[in-house]
Symmetry: C2
């Protein structure tokens, strides 16, 4: 109330009933004329359209329609960190791109939800009128807000989440991919291999990789990729990066490399290409040549233009993950029971690995 007197631009917005009255038909007929969900004669349709035109009626109110149909046409995407942080990761972006594209085809929009706004977060997540929820890299149990939505019957899909009964999960072969890369290093003769892992929890600091931290980890891919590396190098130690950016990798790389040469690993397995690029820069900072003095592998398969040589890595189909998640959502909303999927990764030879330098 009161808003109406504020601006005199429109007495009151016309409703479908108004249009129907003006066209001399019942609201039900007018509705059908607009939506096409039923038979209407051409003449009636024309009259309704004309009436709508005259009353400046711009189509059914999305809110009212949603209430009746029980669908809002909105899918929530829950990202683990603040937008500014999460969006620095090309993999997340590509995934979201694929997701949005696929949902757009199905007529749904993407509502961005972040676990970490300041504190009002859960209010908005719970109150969000979403038809479904896609979790990017967060476990289903992350937040109470998620359980509220689930109890309310909102279907949930996870991308690289914890496998959980009744929740379809879109995954990539994190373990196998890392194992493959580690195998290449072993085959070349590397024995002294260190890891630079993704953050293990939402807000992690640069720290040594400990068993305790690994146990307490909530970020799935970080754990699985570590397992993959240890399938080949069971004793590999490492550093947990504070994020997945080049700068984070550079910092972690410096910690691993700025040591007496005898303590220095001959190869580093970084859990993302950005981290790997950072490690390469860190090596350069210390006067080391890659791959002569240090082999480096990454994960993801994003192109990093500013690197002097292509990275040895495995490529994951990030956008396809999003597309698959989108299809799963659409399927779910159609009453289907989409299945979990695991995408394979593809080895990219690059030029950042070589025989270990003779000691």
């Amino acid at each position: 109330m009161g808003r109406r007197s504020d601006n005199a631009d429109a007495e009151a917005r016309a409703t479908l009933s108004d249009v129907a009255a003006r066209a001399g038909v019942s609201p039900s007929t007018a509705s059908i004329a607009f939506s096409g969900q039923g038979p209407v004669s051409d003449s009636t349709k024309a009259r309704v359209r004309a009436a709508a035109e005259e009353l400046d009626y711009t189509g059914p109110d999305p809110l009212a329609r949603s209430l009746r149909t029980g669908r809002s046409g909105i899918v929530g995407a829950l990202i683990p960190q603040r937008i500014g942080t999460s969006f620095r990761d090309p993999v997340i972006i590509q995934t979201l791109d694929g997701l949005a594209e696929e949902l757009g085809q199905g007529g749904s929009g993407l509502l961005l939800l972040s676990e970490r706004t300041r504190d009002t977060d859960r209010v908005s997540i719970e109150a969000a009128p979403v038809d479904a929820l896609v979790l990017l890299g967060c476990g289903v149990s992350s937040t109470t807000a998620i359980s509220v939505l689930r109890r309310r019957g909102v279907p949930v899909i996870t991308i690289e989440g914890d496998p959980e009964a009744g929740v379809a999960n879109i995954d990539v072969d994190n373990r196998g991919g890392t194992r493959l890369l580690a195998g290449k290093l072993r085959d070349l003769g590397h024995r002294d291999v260190a890891l630079v892992t993704l953050p293990l929890a939402i807000a992690d600091d640069l720290a040594p990789l400990t068993a305790a931290a690994l146990d307490a980890a909530t970020v799935r891919p970080a754990v699985t990729r570590t397992h993959g590396a240890r399938d080949v190098f069971p004793d590999a130690q490492g550093i947990v990066a504070s994020g997945s950016t080049i700068a984070d990798g550079r910092a972690a790389g410096r910690v691993l490399l700025d040591v007496p040469p005898s303590d220095r690993p001959t190869a580093i397995i970084a859990q993302s290409d950005l981290l790997a690029a950072g490690v390469v820069f860190a090596a350069q900072d210390l006067g080391l040549s890659v791959p002569r003095d240090l082999s480096v592998v990454g994960f993801d398969g994003i192109r990093i233009d500013e690197l002097p040589m292509p990275l040895t890595t495995v490529a994951q189909p990030a956008q396809e993950k999003g597309t698959a998640a989108g299809r799963a959502v659409v399927d779910l909303l159609d009453g289907g029971r989409p299945e979990s999927r695991c995408f394979p990764v593809v080895f990219e030879p690059g030029a950042t690995i070589a025989l270990p330098a003779a000691r």
Copy 2:
């Protein structure tokens, strides 16, 4: 219909009325007990809560609430390109970050809308239950979908959009900033200056900068920054980049620099830091040293780690732009009339400009 029989997990979701009945109060009282919008005795509140607990009622249905209150708690953000493309630009990301953060404070979520999905786009934009719309770098008149929303009374805010009556615009001093940088170059003695501009239209190709293209431009900042440069170098020619990435800048830089030395500009004004970084790389590719052989300036003030030296540029408060837009939206929804704002830019000396090399 039919969905109910599909899965037997819940007979039918409990409604507020069910809860009220169980608690022995009227629905109106139960509503107040949940929302706090009115006086309720503590004992009643407790009974309602208990009843809700027993019935596994998870709070009022967002859709129904929205219909009644006329607010969905969702703000749409229209980005000019596909997510994957737009999100490669750190400025857009930071802006969205600020926007989302600010809206989150006000309890609203951010619905991502892209002008360029394949073709179903306008359907979803028009049918989106948004309380307001924020246009990032698109003019108000871009799409008919926008006009539909406006006629429906959805308030609109633009960020670096075309100034238009009744639409608050959040802008930065694109012209002044570029003029300032151009002035520095002139003061150093540069006379032979070329431009690398942002794309002038949604999907632009690498091309020479012509007057015709400039007239037909739809992307505001590209035009204004060009004007700023020409305030100082009226005859400056240039290249229109095909995007705002390092790779785009590199390609444009190569075109400008891979010419006989006498034709080569002594300085390049790039319209974004990413483009500028690309130009620096292009110079390196050609064996030119920056800033000895070529001065380069950018725009934006994002940090580019992989560059060997800091960029001479002007910093714009990208996140603050988003915050300001968010506040404007909140203000608008509160019945206010937010005003347009123009943020100043801050000169960052960097190390990519120097005296022109003697010829």
